[in-house]
């Protein structure tokens, strides 16, 4: 059935074409603002997430906190054993497994004393987990690589010698020679190694000085495919922790979650800014609807006096608001694709994520919100029209 009230609304919109168009433009702007802001935020989020994911392909395995049984002596040997390492290698499959020794100690460069971490690593593994910015990697027995922070604080150069260990008058401290300096990693280190403030030595040198030849402080697993993260973690957990919790398995996926949630609140914030334009649009729709009602008072009087139900009059004006909303939402939706795409490519420089569902969804969502805003703005004018006194309305010239 073709509704005569819808017809009347269409004709009213056509009759006041310019005014209706201007009101719809408000909705267009609102829809475009919401959609493009939403898409901008989402695209940013998707891109940052992708960038972060490339750095989280490391699982760090550390010995679990040792709980001493009452009466039993606490073993000083609280590392990951050779047997456990073999189990980890089994469970990790094709992925690279890197055992790491670590201790905290004092060191001296000339007359300057410092304190930091000493890492013992197989020289072959170093290039896989660290980035040497200057000099070379470890080749000789007493070669060392230093972190960026230590290097700058002590003005370390290639060839500088460092005495390792607590100063002890009766013993000559071992000496390593700096062969390389690592690039700074800051807080973005995702492999559980805070290398900025560390001295890296070969595992053989480390064992010779600090012992623990078959015990490690940490084992890293570098994943070939980051999507297998949970799978590999589960496999290691099942194998090594089968009887009781002996190692802790951690990764930096939680950091992604926190960065994502920060970005998503940022998106919400810019969406809120976008919504202000819809508020402005709502005011203009409200204004146009009120004008339409007050211009048609006599017509409303005629409709009511010859037997139109109040609900039917209300419907007529709600249709009108709805038509304005549809026009605004459709134009707004089309423009959102164009403007949203331009904004994303200009501000993010990457439109690879633009047509993904989680980004493009903002267009129908924006259109829907725009239409709801229109109908809500039309509620009061429609209510006012339908509740007029027909006698007064008829008398209105």
């Amino acid at each position: 059935m073709k509704d005569i009230f819808f017809d009347l609304s269409v004709r009213s919109v056509k009759l006041n074409f310019l005014r209706s168009l201007l009101a719809s433009i408000g909705i267009v702007i609102g829809v475009v603002a919401i959609s493009s802001m939403g898409m901008l935020g989402t695209n940013m989020q998707l891109m940052v997430k992708d960038q972060l994911t490339t750095g989280i392909n490391t699982i760090a395995i550390t010995p679990d906190v040792v709980r001493a049984e009452p009466g039993a002596s606490v073993s000083s040997n609280t590392g990951i054993t050779d047997i456990q390492l073999r189990e980890i290698r089994d469970a990790a499959g094709i992925n690279e497994v890197i055992p790491i020794d670590r201790t905290n100690t004092q060191f001296s460069i000339g007359s300057n004393d410092g304190r930091g971490s000493i890492y013992g690593l197989d020289p072959a593994d170093i290039k896989n987990i660290m980035n040497v910015s200057e000099g070379s990697t470890i080749r000789g027995e007493s070669d060392a690589i230093v972190g960026a922070t230590i290097a700058s604080r002590f003005n370390l150069l290639i060839g500088t010698r460092i005495k390792i260990g607590e100063p002890n008058l009766s013993v000559t401290r071992p000496v390593v020679r700096v062969v390389g300096i690592l690039s700074s990693v800051g807080l973005s280190s995702s492999n559980g190694i805070n290398s900025d403030n560390a001295i890296i030595v070969s595992d053989t040198w480390y064992t010779a000085q600090f012992g623990g030849g078959n015990v490690y402080d940490q084992v890293n697993v570098n994943l070939k495919d980051v999507s297998t993260l949970t799978e590999v973690e589960d496999a290691i957990d099942k194998k090594v922790n089968r009887n009781k919790q002996v190692v802790r398995i951690s990764d930096s996926s939680s950091r992604i979650t926190s960065v994502s949630s920060t970005l998503s609140s940022l998106t919400t914030f810019i969406l809120a800014i976008g919504s202000i334009s819809l508020l402005v649009a709502a005011t203009s729709i409200f204004n146009v609807m009120m004008m339409s009602v007050s211009e048609r008072v006599q017509e409303i009087g005629i409709l009511l006096s010859i037997g139109t139900e109040t609900g039917e009059v209300r419907r007529m004006f709600l249709y009108e608001a709805f038509i304005l909303g549809i026009i605004g939402a459709v134009i707004g939706g089309i423009m959102s694709i164009i403007i949203g795409y331009s904004v994303v490519s200009a501000m993010i420089g990457n439109t690879a994520y633009f047509f993904l569902p989680e980004s493009i969804i903002y267009i129908p969502a924006g259109m829907f919100i725009g239409m709801i805003v229109c109908i809500v703005s039309g509620l009061y004018p429609a209510w006012r029209a339908s509740n007029m006194d027909p006698i007064d309305a008829l008398r209105n010239e």
Partner: protein
């Protein structure tokens, strides 16, 4: 008079509360109008004619007293029932025609049918009624502002008739028309009365009032002659 009259005013008063004090537009009016009557309502301006028409048209309710139309007490009806009564029992013809400007002549006539049956007219009734009042079929797609006064009033009468009401309320139907057209419109009303409609007519013009069989004279809200 056979049985209950179609319209009964029993001690009806209408008081408007204005800032300048209360204004009594209708003052204890009692009268009956039977089915098939042709009544002219006359009186100087301010005598209560319009208020009386609003009461007859169920657009308003009395302050005191009771009005029964087609056997129903107006004051005890819900808003929706009054709306339906206006749609089904009463046909209005106004001095200023009051056609819906956004609808064509034909659609204006069809409109009350849509209100009643909630669908477009497929029976041809709207077109038939429009033809019966002598409206040129070729003009039926024109909007009201493209029609002459006489044509508009014909459309308005057709609109009033299309739901086959018992009562036809005509508020100065010839007031905005030239004399010749006015008499043509009156001829239509006389014809409708002959077909059995109860016609109630408000007019200033004694010549027009002559068409009626009964004249009710109002003065200061009272019936002075009936």
């Amino acid at each position: 008079m056979n049985g209950t009259p179609l319209i009964r005013f029993a001690d009806v008063s209408k008081v408007y509360h204005l800032e300048s004090g209360d204004f009594t537009a209708l003052n204890h009016i009692s009268l009956d109008i039977s089915e098939g009557e042709f009544v002219a309502l006359m009186g100087p301006s301010g005598s209560g004619k319009s208020t009386m028409m609003n009461q007859l048209g169920i657009l308003d309710v009395p302050s005191t007293g009771e009005i029964h139309i087609a056997g129903k007490n107006v004051a005890s009806m819900t808003n929706l029932e009054r709306t339906h009564m206006r749609r089904d029992v009463i046909g209005y013809v106004f001095q200023k025609f009051y056609l819906i400007p956004l609808l064509s002549a034909y659609e204006n006539v069809e409109y009350p049918l849509i209100l009643k049956y909630k669908k477009r007219d497929t029976t041809g009734r709207a077109a038939a009624v429009l033809k019966s009042v002598g409206f040129d079929e070729a003009m039926s797609t024109h909007r009201p502002n493209q029609l002459s006064g006489g044509q508009q009033q014909r459309v308005a009468i057709a609109r009033a008739l299309v739901n086959d009401p018992k009562i036809l309320l005509c508020d100065e139907p010839t007031g905005n028309l030239d004399r010749k057209t006015g008499f043509q419109i009156m001829d239509i009303l006389v014809g409708l009365h002959k077909e059995g409609k109860t016609v109630i007519l408000v007019t200033h013009d004694p010549k027009i009032a002559e068409y009626a069989h009964r004249t009710i004279q109002l003065e200061d809200g009272r019936v002075v002659e009936s």
